[in-house]
């Protein structure tokens, strides 16, 4: 089996949360093999994060180049293809960066690609067996992949918990091998999200609404419930896509990270991107007409019901208190 690498995202000299999760996944994928962290970037911030992560990984490879100051996936891909040995196993986080980089990297390295891995079942010879999810998380699948000639694998965040192990590797400077980093896509800027009228990241109780609300006009019953409870209204992605509520009310990895005491998931199926925005172990109440909705796997209390009928009844009873 090829050498094992984890690509680590970082900003302002601090490694992404995925840094401590990818190494745990790597140890399951290639038991006993040393794991090397790969960093791309530029300057003092890069040196700082490389040194910090050398405590956790068996080795750290640093690729320093001004063209890599912002992690443009096309440029990072070129650097990795030039620096990594043929047949390497490369782990990436399955986030907006890993989705941008992973598929194309696998083609250029001529190795298989496995996306969004949520579990590792074991390795038999060169064949790896992993767990994935399909159909918006409604069912799981076992997937096999021959990784004897290398692979690119994207690992879902929050699944492999940091194990606290240390390794004490050294930082190796691989900048000289980066090669031609010219690109047909160039980074311009990051536009920060607009603030909304309600800051849901501060809310203690959230009534959160999803696709089950069916129609914009029906949102009224959600606001009435929130008012009765003294809660704020948040939502899942489809409600923002439909422009029914502002983006600042969206809970999820592409929206806000919230940490309420109580979270009422109303007609929300519970995709991992949505759940990724829910922190602090809130008490979760899920109401959904689909008993197979993934939200019921993580909720504390579940009710199989149509929210259009359930919410007004609940509001009425709370108002009577």
């Amino acid at each position: 089996m090829g050498e094992v690498f984890a690509y680590i995202k970082h900003a302002q000299g601090v490694a992404d949360d995925s840094a401590l999760e990818l190494i745990v996944a790597a140890k399951k994928i290639a038991p006993g093999a040393p794991v090397t962290a790969v960093f791309t970037g530029s300057g003092a911030d890069l040196d700082k994060v490389c040194t910090a992560m050398a405590a956790v990984y068996n080795a750290v490879w640093k690729i320093d180049n001004a063209a890599l100051a912002y992690p443009n996936a096309e440029v990072v891909r070129k650097a990795l293809v030039n620096v990594l040995p043929a047949g390497s196993i490369v782990l990436l986080p399955h986030d907006t960066f890993g989705m941008d980089l992973g598929p194309g990297l696998s083609i250029k390295m001529n190795v298989p690609f496995v996306a969004d891995i949520v579990g590792v079942d074991g390795v038999d010879g060169g064949t790896l067996k992993v767990v994935r999810q399909e159909f918006s998380g409604q069912v799981s699948t076992h997937v096999t992949c021959d990784i004897s000639g290398g692979a690119v694998m994207n690992i879902r965040g929050g699944v492999f918990q940091a194990d606290g192990a240390t390794a004490g590797g050294a930082v190796e400077d691989k900048s000289g091998a980066a090669g031609d980093l010219s690109a047909k896509r160039t980074f311009v800027e990051v536009v920060a999200a607009e603030a909304g009228d309600v800051d849901i990241t501060k809310s203690e109780v959230l009534v959160s609404v999803g696709r089950g609300i069916e129609d914009q006009e029906n949102l009224e019953i959600v606001f009435e419930l929130a008012k009765a409870m003294g809660a704020d209204v948040s939502c899942s992605r489809p409600i923002v896509d439909a422009k029914w509520l502002e983006k600042s009310r969206q809970v999820g990895t592409s929206g806000q990270t919230v940490k309420p005491k109580v979270y009422m998931a109303m007609g929300i199926s519970g995709s991992f991107q949505h759940l990724g925005g829910l922190k602090g172990n809130p008490f979760i109440v899920a109401v959904n007409k689909n008993p197979k909705a993934p939200i019921f796997q993580v909720a504390d209390v579940g009710i199989e019901a149509n929210i259009l009928e359930f919410i007004p009844e609940l509001t009425e009873k709370i108002e009577e208190l």
Binding site: D116, F135, V139
Partner: protein, 262 residues
């Protein structure tokens, strides 16, 4: 602008409960409601809006069997000008790389400035667009939620974590995977579907596309699905049952105890 949009016919997860069949090797496909992959509708709408502004044409393409023709017609009813069905027994069981290999051959049969895919589909891998771009040596941007057409290059916004947007300039031809919310896909009425019901949709197979049959399909797939299963997730939620009054009374007790009522 000549724009190719890659679309897929998928089980509609908002209309169906997905269950696993008796053998555990597939989902229960009887009585499933199928539709076009949600992300693909946004991609087609975006393509139509670009062509409305700067001219050109929109072609929709899919890899599938004869039943996949219906999603091409639906997207043509939205306003796509042409449809192409890539179909061959040799394509069955292709993994993401196999599908990208088939699409690459179709891209090379035409002359497109832009190629769109949905950001992801039912398998959740979000992989075909990036693979296709790398095979073609075209630049790629994923999760695109803004496109501004300029001279010889585009300005594209990518949705990144925390509701932020990453702005890039990208040369054409390029491949973009389109995120939901980039626009509001137009409604397709029964009249629109009727108008395109008799339009001929060309079908291309492996030999038409010059594809070596051994490079696609199940035998070439390095990534193989072994089975479907429902994970043992532990206790899961405590499901409240009974009459709606009983359920609500119980729920209110919980909310009081957990600080959910102020």
């Amino acid at each position: 602008m000549e724009i190719l949009v890659c679309v897929k016919r998928v089980p509609d997860t908002s209309e169906n409960e997905i269950a696993i069949n008796g053998d555990g090797n597939d989902i229960e496909r009887d009585d499933l409601v199928y539709s076009v992959n949600e992300w693909d509708n946004y991609a087609v709408e975006e393509a139509i809006q670009i062509v409305d502004k700067v001219g050109g044409s929109v072609t929709v393409v899919t890899v599938g069997d004869s039943e996949s023709e219906e999603v091409l017609r639906r997207e043509m009813a939205m306003g796509a000008n042409n449809g192409i069905l890539l179909t061959d027994d040799a394509f069955e069981g292709s993994d993401g790389k196999g599908v990208a290999t088939i699409l690459k051959a179709a891209v090379e049969k035409g002359k497109y400035d832009l190629i769109f895919t949905g950001a992801q589909a039912d398998g959740g891998s979000a992989e075909v667009g990036g693979m296709l771009a790398a095979m073609l040596d075209y630049p790629y941007a994923s999760l695109v939620n803004l496109i501004e057409v300029g001279d010889g290059k585009l300005k594209v916004g990518r949705e990144i974590e925390g509701g932020n947007q990453e702005i890039n300039e990208i040369q054409t031809p390029c491949v973009l995977s389109i995120q939901t919310g980039i626009n509001e896909p137009r409604y397709v009425g029964i009249r629109g579907i009727r108008k395109v019901a008799s339009v001929e949709i060309p079908e291309l197979g492996a030999s038409d596309l010059g594809i070596d049959a051994s490079s696609v399909g199940e035998a070439s797939s390095k990534v193989k699905r072994v089975d479907y299963f429902v994970p043992d997730t532990g206790a899961g939620a405590e499901m409240l049952t009974g009459s709606s009054e009983e359920i609500i009374a119980k729920l209110i007790e919980y909310l009081k105890a957990k600080g959910g009522l102020k």
